[in-house]
Symmetry: C2
Subunit: 270 residues, 2 copies
Amino acid sequence: MHFMQALQQAWTRNHSLVCVGLDPEPTKFPAEFHDRPDAVFEFCRAIIDATADLACAFKPQIAHFAALRAEDTLERLIAHIHAKHPGIPVILDSKRGDIGSTAQHYVSEAFDRYGADAVTINPYMGRDSAQPFLDRADKGVILLCHTSNPGAADLQDLDVGGKPLYQHVAQIIARDWNTHGNCALVTGATWPEQLAEVRALIGDMPLLVPGVGAQGGDVEAVLRHGRSANGTGLMINSSRAILYASNGEDFAQAARTATQALRDTINRYR
Amino acid sequence: MHFMQALQQAWTRNHSLVCVGLDPEPTKFPAEFHDRPDAVFEFCRAIIDATADLACAFKPQIAHFAALRAEDTLERLIAHIHAKHPGIPVILDSKRGDIGSTAQHYVSEAFDRYGADAVTINPYMGRDSAQPFLDRADKGVILLCHTSNPGAADLQDLDVGGKPLYQHVAQIIARDWNTHGNCALVTGATWPEQLAEVRALIGDMPLLVPGVGAQGGDVEAVLRHGRSANGTGLMINSSRAILYASNGEDFAQAARTATQALRDTINRYR
């Protein structure tokens, strides 16, 4: 199924705009995992199984696996999601970007090797660096626009002919890069006004919104400024606040409760 | 040894500004490799051993390994360079970039897992996304400035208060981000005038210059516009033109000959 179609169905079926981020950090796992050889897989699988009916997407962040030499774990987790929770799209959060001939290898990494349904990429190198991703019309291409970190302002807010760079990025992607209708943008919850400006430029294009939870973004403001006309259009990501809601034996139940609470808070403002 | 020190010593000892890019593509390997289980390692090792005394750095491009599920091969190749050719720095070309807490995991990937001496990163997310890399004062942090691909112009050339974005990037990195003296910039050989403008802004900071060889950049122009005051300051990368100089049994000798020819051409204009 095409990513955009899967996302829309998951929004409806699970009545949820919550994207569950998978950022495994073994030192934060409950004690029961500390001696297990396959701890990363088992921890993440438990989170996935506890939250899949409450989420519109899962977003594994690849650095957390790469630093642990756990690429095979990431492969198995994505396969697990597809097998046990079909219809919930998987976003590989890797923020890649390189010249076209190399980008083709990153396309293989994300879609052929890992079987992701969508991938985050960095637009700084321009359209031809994104093209091999864009050409995979069935896959989602989620481009950085205005990120959630404080340093986002350093380049993204620079004034380009009367408007900030991130708005220029949003505009050229919506106007020129989205020929297959498979683009989405990353806009941080920590910048609600920028979210509104981006939404005004891109119609109903989905936004991946990190920065609620541990980073402090305000859910009501995200909805007010970021939702699309029909009350969807958002993948509101939470990673640490779900994964590490408890470090006791009840971690999976606590993750479920945290996901449900975020979903319900979001739905109050849709 | 610090990356910058190793690079300067390699420039001098090998009288070379050539960076040998390692972009393995098994379909381009000589026939003798086609059935070998460890073909990527053996091919790259042969290239490394044939060119190490002619290079100032090696630059493995990580997507080429990731698409092949060959992270362990990349680990072994970097270990091989350090063991057999000590003093030749290894640049992990991965163009990462993410919020600080995640960037820390990319730092672990590049420096702790792979043992790279330097890494390429993307500046779009701003200073705090680069900080965990910058804090490793012994490692090189090579930031994208003006890349070699045609699409570089899409964002990098946008006018920001009277100067193009890439010049702004060069300036803030030279002025604000380079407190440990471990920064370098990527500037493509395909844009020689931009190279001159960047050089004028950054003093003696090293430039990693892709785009000669297969991408068509002109070596003389790169030297004229990009060299530092003492005739160094450049890591001029060639990947495909060296790796695939021959697809016969003489591939390693042909790679050596191509590297030597590039080195000598460069040295003519230093």
